[in-house]
Symmetry: D2
Subunit: 369 residues, 4 copies
């Protein structure tokens, strides 16, 4: 393992940050893929003593069809969720996948009923070559994991607003906002411009007037709570009240009509999409947490960056390269952009903790989207 | 529109570059999505005079099942390709989609036969709200397009090797190499380490010995052609001749067994995956080329960067921000990292050419993966 | 309406009778189709005041994959149930269909869990032409409904044995027998030869020896209960204990592995398959109970035959012809084979009761398979 | 084997006869299932020397969506054809199935293009128990095959009209009539009433007036050709010219919109549906022609009846019973209803020819629907 340390780059004057909430079609796919991977991991451990090869990171959602109506509409055709991947069949893979997906969907979409989904697994037997790589715990791909800390102000606010809108507290107070939200922040110098897309739920609203009042009250609430007096905060920017065009849904997600989704299109392992920062393309959700460096190294890089910042007070950007066939605990290169020094030990210690990361992912203590 | 120019960052000492070839399962999905979008665009123009809203960027591939055999094996179960998306039905959307997908698959996988695929379209009617945004040609999303020029040496070589392996010339000389290839390059200082994954085709090989000879000859050929005397060049690093484990296929793609694919997991619009460079997460393939800034602004940013480099000799990294509902010809921010000066006019002139970009994409003159 | 009465034919010396139980893959399809039709009918009545056109009689089941094991095995891949048909979308058709199918499956397969099924509806909007025929309640097809009474001895015993094996009483006493059973009776003169196929359930059996003992005890029990001292009664005739080939399942139906199913392949509306008796080809299950003569006239013919027999003591075979576009209460021809006389009024009165039949079908009081 | 001969029953005074043409959705399913079975049989013979177990008799068609237009409309969404069944995988089952289905569809629907279909095979590996029964060529089920000869006048005319409408000669002269036709004949005493449903093709018709003229001319042509001066002959009885409701299609089959289909819902092996005659419920199409008595015994019974009639001039109805596990050349009972005598040898000789029947089915010389 080679550790290279270079100075931290300057922060840009302008940035764009985005977070897709839990009920966004892309996040739904990420969440389903991850729920299936975790359920399979637990079953493998129980049945065989250790996690077997699997890769269920090709989850795609085809939107349903709904008919909204003030006071409550209907889901006419179900949302289809294709779970495509490979797994070792020492456990009943597809029934585990269906159950994990269904339980997860009910957890995040409390208004949805079983009959609003077709969960359609197509999980093949994994190729034997790939399976053998898991047993020896060598990297199963050549890729790069990326992490950074701390968040900029825009990043922090974006994440906090999104998490607030998805919180139990908020959903109790504003049941008319569904779990499908998206927060996009533009910062230009000091100026923050925050656009929120939020799927409103028809059963809790009697008219377009109620919708409007609710929307404006929420905008006000966010401005207050996050102390955004000088920022622009706008929900559902495309609404057109004259034409009756508003963002209304039956169960609180655009997946019920019109919006499809796919794993890996949403937020990265740190919870954000940050095109003006280093980012990994890897879709972490659904990959096995033992040998898939596309998953593990992103989590690891994030943890190293956070620890460097915590211990030294200096920002850090971390990139970890993998090589297919190399032991995952010995990455060929770790590149750290930081002004801190003497951080080699942090890197090494965190890499030692990879098995812990695996288990924390399985237990749901580390989230990857 | 605001144009901000900052100095170009230093190139890193170490980099990772990857290119997935035309027959890789992820690239197959990108290519199918793009072929469908182009076919729809042409049909809309013919039928209604201009391109209508569509978004068919959720193509997923579930691998088939094959039985390889020296001298020629069989495809037991077909590769399934789900084409998920939205489109305006003023033209026969799904039959256009199937035809475009099939024609494309035959073009890139000459050994595949119709019966090796199930092409399964699920393209809904687009939500009316989104459709209206196309008519006025305003940005349909808030995102960031990214481009840079010139390529580093590692980037250039990675792209050229991949394109060489996918070239007619190469495939005529080495028919035993299928279109599913992947080239990954690590540069560490001056040292290049190039790993290639290539799906060999069983019908052109009589034995594992022939496979080995062919593979070694190709490694040698690449070293020569690209003058890589000091680089490591390795094909199919996981091969194990003793165990008979080699990378063998029937029609030249891992999609026939074991490897699934999805749009947006592969190369960016410049043809590369470059985690150590600014990158967009957007899946460009399959998006409509009129209002989808996730597609257009990536192409545009790349063209601006290339023109800056061509006219000034200075490297450039370009990021273009979009805002949902804003005219696409007036992006809120263009950030250019370059040491060139007086490049505002280049930016403006290139933005003026957006309608040309649209038509070039439709005509297949601009490739997005 | 023309009523033609001819003498009853002689009973054949030899006959074949069959009944597929509730858990047989073909019966599962019939039951799902019928459950969906009933649920849609109730929803239409509630929402619009009367039953709208629908036809969901193309239900097909693709078997899953299971791994049986003495003491309890696993379902590796789910059973797929395609619900294909047409319906009026004044109610949320597909979500009603999924819910009705799922509830029904749990009712008849108590060992199955949600994740053992993929319920996949593809119910199109009905063609407007056909819908209009429902509103006027004219026959929507040209076909023939058939019924007869009373049952022969072989018919009666076949039905009673099958119903006994599917009864709660039996399933409590012999939990190791699943709901997928089939009873076939050959009568040759006086001699009855009864073959039973029964899916045994692995979790209730510790070994092949237990299986054998259970099977023999059940054969004995049937012989006793139905007083079949001189008949041959044989369960799972293809079992081969030496080779370990027995009919074992995880959830009690061959649909879990190896046996597909389809609507209309199973029993007729009288509960039997009787090739040596007049029979209708019509698949009654899933058709709307208002205008689908292929459903209504079979039930009606059976009711007329039963009433003739009840009131006159004479056997009767009844065939009712329909004509597309004719009022369903005025069939062009009713042919009765009976030695009874003066039965025209019975025919006419029963035809008057068609609206009652519709409602009894909706309420589940008349079963059609 | 026991052969029982009883007198032939009297012919009824009234009868109903139906034939679904080659392009009817149910017949499409029968034809696809049979094409797949034949293609598999040929592949098994070539690869392994003899036909292996297979059963692909659960083909279901979910209608597409079309937009008809005088002068030529469009197929908006494809027709989906699910090929569900079991087969031995010593040959590439699903790719053979897709190819056979596609070739067959093009043969019978010359206006359809590849992109008008999604051919979706789900053919599992056959259960080992069932496979072993094929190897020994014992009956794989307990069922009854039925045949009769000669046809009544109504039966003959029904079949001939349908075959005329599906003939090349007719389709050349009247290209505006598609292959999806259905002929239903009611005979009441001497009176014939013939109703024809025929899918007209929009591209060959410029207006509803042309449709009307064509339809009336065809009615006249049929009356002439089949000398039906006193019969009622009516095409598309539900047409309503005022409302513009006529039976119009884009490619000549109702499967393109609104009508689903399934194997075994259409004509029997003699080409007719005859509810007033003995009939088998068995779906012959798609079953393997070696051990599936539900297929073989229906063909055999028909051949015995035809030969009895040919050699003796006496009508015959033949029923052949099978028993699971019995050699197929030794059925437990053959029941012949005829007034001919000394026909035991005919029965025995025809049973000897079962292997010939198998090969004729594979070669397409015997049609089963």
């Amino acid at each position: 393992m080679k550790i290279v340390i270079v100075p931290h780059p300057k922060y840009p004057k302008s940035e764009v940050v985005e977070r897709k909430g839990i009920g966004h079609p892309d996040s739904i796919c990420d969440g389903v893929a991850e729920a299936v991977s975790r359920a399979l991991s637990r079953a493998y451990i129980k049945e065989t003593g250790h996690i077997q090869h699997h890769n269920v990171d090709k989850v795609t959602l085809a939107a349903g069809r709904s008919r909204t109506s003030w006071g409550g509409g209907e889901i006419l055709r179900p949302i289809r969720i294709f779970i495509v991947g490979r797994a070792n069949y020492s456990v009943p893979v597809e029934t585990i996948a269906i159950k994990a997906a269904r339980d997860y969907l009910h957890e995040i979409l409390p208004l949805a009923r079983d009959e609003h989904f077709v969960i359609d697994p197509r999980v093949g037997e994994g190729a034997s070559e790939l399976i053998s790589t898991v047993e020896n715990v060598v990297a199963n791909d050549t890729s790069v994991g990326v992490g950074f800390a701390p968040f900029t102000e825009a990043e922090r606010i974006t994440k906090e607003i999104a998490d607030f809108l998805n919180s139990r507290e908020f959903m109790r107070e504003w049941p008319e906002v569904g779990p499908d939200i998206k927060v996009m922040t533009h910062r230009d110098g000091e100026l923050l411009d925050i656009t929120i897309a939020a799927a409103f739920v028809d059963r809790f609203l009697g008219s377009i007037e109620e919708y409007r009042r609710s929307k404006e009250a929420i905008e006000e609430r966010i401005r207050e709570k996050f102390e955004l007096r000088d920022a622009v905060v706008k929900i559902n920017a495309l609404d057109n009240y004259e034409k009756g065009m508003v963002y209304l849904t039956v169960i609180g997600t655009s997946a019920e009509q019109g919006d499809d989704g796919s794993v890996g299109r949403g937020t990265r392992v740190n919870g954000l999409i940050t095109p003006t920062r280093p980012m990994s393309l890897e879709a972490a959700a659904g990959k096995n947490p033992v040998s898939h460096v596309g998953k593990l190294y992103n989590v690891l890089a994030q943890q190293i960056a956070e620890r460097i910042y915590a211990e030294t007070g200096k920002p850090a950007e971390v990139m970890i390269q993998s090589r297919i066939g190399y032991p995952i605990t010995d990455p060929p290169l770790v590149l750290v952009r930081t002004d801190a020094s003497d951080i080699e030990n942090i890197v090494k210690e965190e890499i030692e903790k990879l098995p812990e990361i695996t288990m924390k992912i399985v237990e749901g203590k580390i989230r990857v989207f």
